[in-house]
Symmetry: none
Subunit: 154 residues, 2 copies
DNA sequence: TAAGATTGTGGGTAGTTGTGGGTAAAATTC
DNA sequence: GAATTTTACCCACAACTACCCACAATCTTA
């Protein structure tokens, strides 16, 4: 059953094979095909994980990058660092995407891989890395976390 | 697989051969051929790298240069430095472009060469030069960099 | 519960891509 | 105008990638 367009939620475990392929949760594939879309952009996340955007989502980011000026060195660096690691990819007939060696090593991916829905994108994690990141967050800024609670009604 | 017209993202490693030829990532070639275009304009980048524009993009730059006044010495210098090093080029049947000795030496290119998609253009880098440039940016204005992160939602 | 459909995982193969070098045309020099 | 250098075009081949098929495990449905 499909949720709505471009909404990713849930957690799924898959295995990365010897060719660097990972399965995409079938629910996510359905979500995407409603939009006649099987193209993603995979890139480095801000934690040690990968971010996978559906093309429409990525296009929005790109539009914002286009507005930055090549005359500013900061702007150039920002565009470069954002665009540099972005890799377009489609899923194959079996529903898998290819990860480049560079992306695999960035996220320290081994055999078992966690895919997490992040509403507008998915994250690909090594289970151990995710655990580490979780523990780190627990320690710092519980106040900031609470502040978010005010902005978002659950 | 093609993204859309004139969008360049990702990082690719190629080798500069003895004749001064570098491969263009096949994804970029597809992007360009959608426009029935295999003509680039290569010029000096503002960092120590080369900028490669598809012809359409370059035409836009030219239009903007036309608007600058020759009465202003700053404007004159800007137009001169932008136009001066621009070299039109096409890729051969194998998908390679020729770099002139002048361009090669400007970017300090050796054997290994990095091509980076910058959304509206590509950059050609020597890996060591890029590393240097990265470190430089880290030092100056982290606040400005963070401000950009707020403007662009990833 | 059995049969059928869907999903996840592995591997083989044909086509594409990256890199080197050869040759003929064009440009440059003497 | 001949000789030499430079450039553009072509071919060859190795490495890699995308696509295809197979099959086991799981879920669905009657």
């Amino acid at each position: 059953m499909t949720l709505t367009n471009n909404t990713f939620i849930g957690e799924y475990t898959y295995s990365l094979d010897s060719k660097g392929r990972v399965n995409i949760p079938s629910k996510f594939r359905q979500t995407l095909s409603t939009d006649n879309q099987n193209t993603f952009v995979i890139t480095r996340g801000l934690d040690s994980c990968l971010w996978v955007y559906p093309l429409v989502q990525w296009k929005e980011i790109e539009e914002n990058l286009r507005k930055l000026s090549s005359l500013s060195s900061i702007h150039r660096a920002f565009v470069r660092n954002t665009a540099r690691y972005a890799t377009p990819s489609t899923y194959d007939k079996q529903g898998r995407i290819n990860l480049t060696p560079s992306l695999i090593s960035y996220a320290s991916l081994k055999k078992d891989v966690l895919i997490i829905g992040m509403v507008n994108k998915m994250e690909i994690w090594d289970p151990i890395q995710l655990e580490k990141a979780d523990k780190k967050i627990e320690k710092i800024n519980p106040e900031e976390y609470d502040a978010l609670s005010d902005r978002i009604i659950l």
